[in-house]
């Protein structure tokens, strides 16, 4: 059952009960009042009649009338006249004697001038009633006469033993009461109808918003929370229902936002999964390539070394066994064969070394650069002393995360190059580090011959040499190895130089472990996928910095 109906019914029942209660009480009070009023009215009339009788009785005593009968007749006449003048025949007076004999009554005598008793022996009241009247002297009573219920007020005039009565029908007496009851009933019904209408109107006004709230809640429950359906419920009041509507609005708005952000999140997760899968595929591919490279270098090393060993061995045998049978030129050729086989061996070793850098990664560790540089100096001690090289190492070099063995190779290679190619009488090597936001920038500067700009990139290519072969030993793989190691650390390497004055090798090593391991920052990934602009990223990073 609907709430509005329930409220209406309850209200109607309450109103009906109250109006019945009110009506009965008011009817009781009113009828009682009417009754008293009637009684008083009738009694007044009787008193007038009794006063009349008394006056006539006085006149008799004063001697105006000859007999008592005459005064009685006068009273009778007066009443007769009064009755005749009376317009309302329903109310009339009559007189009986205390013994029940009728003195004057319109139904039994015509109020004639004479005191005649036409209806001798007839009684209006029975003896019990007469006894009651005599005892009471004055009062009221109900009785039946000629089949009609009647009501009368009576008073005894004792000197004559007359009972004066004024009578009317019960129906007449109750006429005004019935009218009042009818009016009251009408008013009650009107009140009930009016109140029902008011209740219906009010409950509609208050229950309709509840219906709206219910509908919205059902919508939310069935998952119909969509941005286009977000018209907030407008109640316009600040009562409990208004608060309820406000709460539901807020809830559905929150829910909508949550739903929207959920959708976005799901999308993002999907994107990321795709990205991850792509990365996985890529990693697999790389692994495959590495494996192939591994096999390749293995085959190369095995297959190239096999004939090389024979070349070396047999040229050695030739040199040992046939030295005497060969002339100077022949021995020169053999020497060249042996020198080249040695060189080829070195090239193969370097090749293997380069391929090994990527394949075999040592775990990253915290390395104190000053300690590392001391070790480098020890390893190159002979060369440093021989050429009297001055090595200047910047103070407070950092402690960084790196592959210790490989980074040592970097410094050894750069140092030995700086020493090897130096043409100055007082060779000098300077090492330092600039600490940047995300990375360390190291430099190794020498006062050697310098490198022409056109060769800046070429020097890092494998087996590239700038000097003549006979001038400097080495295969030309050193810088390639260095570059490879720096790239393995996800750093960069470049060279700055002025011919005849100096050469500076710069290289960077990221600070973060994740960066060294090649894992991108989330910002970079988003940027790559064009989910954000560079400006967004910059702003976000600035905001982050401000937060500390």
């Amino acid at each position: 059952m609907k709430l509005s109906l329930k409220i209406s019914l309850i209200t109607i029942v309450i109103i009906v009960v109250f109006s019945i209660l009110l009506q009965s009480i008011s009817i009781a009070i009113f009828s009682n009042a009417i009754h008293s009023l009637n009684k008083k009215l009738f009694m007044d009339k009787i008193n007038k009649l009794i006063l009349l009788a008394y006056e006539q009785d006085e006149l008799f005593f004063e001697g105006v009338y000859d007999s008592e009968i005459e005064s009685k007749l006068r009273v009778k006449d007066k009443i007769n006249i009064e009755y005749r003048e009376q317009k309302d025949p329903i109310v009339f007076p009559f007189i009986i004697e205390t013994n029940g004999r009728i003195v004057a009554h319109p139904a039994y005598s015509q109020w004639s001038g004479r005191l005649q008793d036409k209806e001798e022996g007839k009684q209006i009241f029975d003896n019990t009633t007469l006894a009651f009247m005599q005892k009471k002297k004055e009062g009221e009573l109900e009785y039946t006469s000629a089949g009609v219920r009647r009501w009368c007020v009576f008073k005894i005039y004792e000197p004559w033993n007359w009972i004066f009565c004024i009578t009317t029908t019960i129906a007449n007496k109750n006429k005004s009461i019935n009218f009042f009851i009818r009016v009251a009933l009408f008013i009650s019904i009107m009140m009930i109808i009016g109140s029902v209408m008011v209740v219906l109107f009010v409950s509609r006004k208050y229950i309709r918003p509840i219906h709206l709230v219910i509908e919205r809640l059902l919508d939310i429950a069935s998952g119909k929370v969509r941005p286009d359906e977000q018209i907030p419920i407008n109640i316009g009041t600040k009562d409990e229902i208004g608060m309820l509507a406000y709460a539901v609005n807020k809830m559905s708005e929150d829910l909508r936002q949550t739903t929207v952000s959920c959708d976005e999140l799901a999308k993002e997760i999907e994107e990321r999964k795709k990205m991850e899968n792509a990365l996985k595929d890529y990693a697999k591919k790389i692994e495959q390539i590495n494996k192939e490279l591994d096999d390749f270098t293995y085959i190369v090393s095995h297959d190239l070394k096999e004939p090389l060993r024979s070349i070396d061995a047999f040229s050695k045998f030739l040199e040992d066994d046939y030295r005497d049978k060969l002339n100077e030129e022949g021995r020169g050729y053999i020497e060249r064969i042996r020198a080249n086989s040695l060189r080829m061996q070195k090239l193969i070793e370097d090749l293997l070394e380069i391929s090994r850098i990527e394949r075999k990664r040592n775990p990253l560790e915290e390395v104190r650069i000053p300690d590392l540089l001391n070790e480098v100096k020890l390893r190159l001690e002979y060369a440093i002393k021989e050429k009297n090289v001055e090595i200047i190492i910047q103070d407070n070099l950092p402690c960084i995360l790196c592959d210790r063995v490989r980074l040592m190779e970097v410094f050894v290679n750069l140092f030995s190059n700086a020493i090897k190619f130096n043409d100055k009488p007082n060779p000098k090597i300077e090492v330092g580090c600039n600490v940047k936001d995300d990375y360390y920038e190291f430099y190794v500067r020498d006062n050697g011959p310098g490198i022409e700009e056109q060769y800046y990139n070429k020097i890092f290519e494998i087996f590239q040499r700038l000097g003549r072969r006979e001038d400097h030993e080495g295969t030309g793989a050193g810088l390639t190895i260095v570059k490879k190691i720096i790239e393995m650390h996800k750093g960069k390497i470049w060279v700055e130089s002025k011919v005849g004055e100096y050469t500076t090798f710069y290289f960077t090593i990221p600070k973060r472990r994740q960066a060294i391991l090649g894992k991108k920052k989330i910002g970079e990934i988003l940027l790559e996928k064009k989910l954000i602009t560079e400006e967004d990223l910059k702003q976000a990073l600035d905001a982050q910095k401000e937060e500390g």
């Binding site: 293995y298 060993r309 040695l342 061996q345 293997l352």
Partner: protein, 158 residues
């Protein structure tokens, strides 16, 4: 040193004739007193050890004191032959040295897993090769104490 070197029977399993020549010469230059038996592939090596096929004459194919085994061999490769040797109750105590140009971890690991006693990379330079062979001879011929029941395996085991 030469005087102290014991007489050692060495079985070389090697397919490359150049390498055979080089090893022979290296052994000679290292002055290891020995008797070198040469087989050209894995199967031949196995036949020699088990006195099968053309090596059915036990006198011409004696049990060696050292096996030098190349990894890349035709028919039966070095690692397979090594596995068979080390699983054979008669042969498993013979010191087996793998000779290889490879430094592939995978091969080295497999070699040790199959029970090889040493893993040696063939040096490219002949001088180093001679030195290596000298070391092998020194170690397996003199320093290393042989298994006491080398010739009477079965008695003890069974």
């Amino acid at each position: 040193m030469a005087e102290k070197t014991k007489f050692t029977k060495i079985l070389l399993v090697e397919d490359n004739p150049d390498d055979i020549f080089i090893i022979e010469r290296a052994i000679r230059e290292a002055k290891i007193i020995n008797q070198l038996f040469i087989t050209r592939d894995g199967q031949e090596g196995w036949d020699f050890l088990k006195h099968q096929g053309k090596y059915s004459d036990v006198a011409s194919s004696p049990k060696p004191g050292l096996i030098l085994l190349d990894i890349n061999l035709p028919k039966l490769n070095g690692l397979e032959l090594l596995k068979m040797i080390k699983e054979d109750p008669d042969l498993k105590r013979i010191p087996t040295v793998m000779l290889t140009v490879s430094r592939r971890d995978e091969d080295i690991l497999k070699g040790y897993n199959h029970g090889c006693n040493s893993f040696i990379q063939k040096p490219v330079e002949f001088e180093k090769f001679v030195e290596t062979v000298r070391q092998i001879g020194l170690y397996w011929g003199i320093i290393n104490v042989e298994s006491p029941n080398n010739d009477s395996d079965n008695d003890i085991i069974e």
